[in-house]
Amino acid sequence: MSKQSEQKTVSQKMDELSELVAWFEGDEFELEQALETYSKAEKLAAEIEHDLTNLKNEITVLKEKFDA
């Protein structure tokens, strides 16, 4: 997994994956690039799955008091 990729949120990765999938279904599709793009999409999907399995929510109860 690349360092740059690790810094992205799951949401950003999902957007990126959607773009890759859209490329396959769009007019700009070129067979020569398909293999490379498919590998990228497959890797991204695996990263997202990994993130979803391993990431924990960071829950912070604020110290601020809201009573008067």
Binding site: L31, Y38, T60, V61
Partner: protein
């Protein structure tokens, strides 16, 4: 006859002493009764009588302290300080007022609902969409409440990597609305706003949930810069806070289901996406191959046609050539005569199978 022990006061002092005695004796009191002669003066001051079957007491409060609609006949509980006014009139200075009993709660709910509806606060056009996958959310709830625990459990089951800031507040009782308003204001003043504001509380009686029908709270939710989701009580409980929120959740658990997608579903979807891409690529490769084969087939057909044409032309040429072949002419009985066509000259006559040498006897023009 008054003795020297009898206290003497000026009127003002007497009123002050009575008020002091009242304060020592009661401080703040809660009184339940029915509202009568309710009126608002100068858009600022509220006056009404609080009565029961045999008694009645004057009440006074500022309009801004009135957080729920009140009208004559409603049963309410007031929190108040008993006082004698400068004019000697006994009155309750109201600090807060809340409807009491199912009928009054319902009445108050309906009055406020109609008022806010008229202002368009519940209009569908005001509803903002929530982000599909938020990265940062804010939660306003009591961290000790069961509803909060349900929310956190479902949230953790469904999603990960989420930053969740929780404002612990009271979610029932008199101070609950104000605490929630402060929490809403706190989150709305952050430099980086959370993407969703979740307000939750588990089930309870109508009285327990009354805080979520508080007018200032409802207005604070409506004016939040952060999109809101409110999940209060159970499916059947409907509060004005629910109605004004960008999204209503039936319960705190349902709020968690709405605010984040389910990672299991998403993982399945990822598999389907990759499969779809693969199928699409396979389809395109198949199409390319079919097209290539068709082009090749067309090429072969053209080539065949060319060869046929050339063969046909060759046959024709051969036929023409054969027609011009001198041997063929000789075979039909003709002869080729060579030599000088002059009397006494020698000529050769070539036939199919022999060559004759002859002398020219005569030459005549025809």
């Amino acid at each position: 006859m008054a003795s020297d022990q009898t206290p003497k006061f000026s009127v003002s002092d007497f009123i002050a002493v009575v008020n002091q005695s009242l304060e020592y004796s009661f401080g703040t009191v809660e009184i339940e009764g029915e509202v009568a002669s309710f009126k608002v003066n100068q858009g600022k001051w509220v006056f009404f009588d609080l009565k029961d079957a045999t008694g009645s007491v004057n009440c006074f409060m500022s309009l801004f302290q009135l957080r729920v609609p009140v009208e004559d006949g409603m049963k309410v509980v007031v929190r108040a300080v008993p006082k004698i006014t400068a004019w000697g009139k006994f009155s309750l200075t109201i600090q807060s007022i809340r409807p009491s009993g199912e009928g009054s709660l319902k009445k108050s709910f309906e009055l406020l609902k109609a008022k806010l509806d008229k202002e368009g606060l519940f209009s569908p056009e005001r509803k903002r969409s929530l982000p599909e996958i938020p990265g940062h959310i804010a939660v306003i709830s009591s961290t000790s409440a069961a509803g909060y625990a349900d929310f956190v459990k479902i949230l953790n089951d469904r999603w990960g990597g989420l930053k969740v800031d929780v404002a612990h507040v009271q979610v029932q009782g008199e101070s609950a609305p104000e605490q929630m308003i402060r929490a809403i204001s706190y989150f709305n003043q952050q430099e980086v706003l959370p993407e969703v504001l979740v307000i939750i509380r588990g089930g309870g009686s109508a009285d327990d949930l009354a805080a979520f029908n508080d007018e200032p709270l409802v207005r604070a939710i409506a004016s939040s810069r952060i999109p809101t989701i409110v999940g209060v009580g159970h499916e059947v409980d409907v509060s004005l806070a629910d109605m004004v929120a960008d999204r209503r959740a039936a319960t705190p658990s349902n709020a968690a289901q709405i605010v984040v997608p389910d990672k299991k579903e998403l993982t399945n979807m990822l598999g389907q996406l990759v499969h779809r891409v693969l199928a699409r690529t396979d389809g395109i490769v198949d199409d390319f191959m079919k097209e290539t084969k068709a082009t090749l087939r067309q090429g072969w057909t053209m080539l065949d046609m060319r060869v046929d044409l050339l063969q046909s032309q060759l046959v024709t040429s051969r036929q023409v050539m054969a027609a011009y072949d001198p041997k063929a002419v000789l075979s039909r009985g003709y002869a080729i005569v060579r030599g000088e066509a002059m009397v006494g000259g020698e000529i050769t006559i070539e036939q199919q199978k022999r060559i004759i040498t002859a002398e020219v006897k005569n030459v005549e023009a025809i």
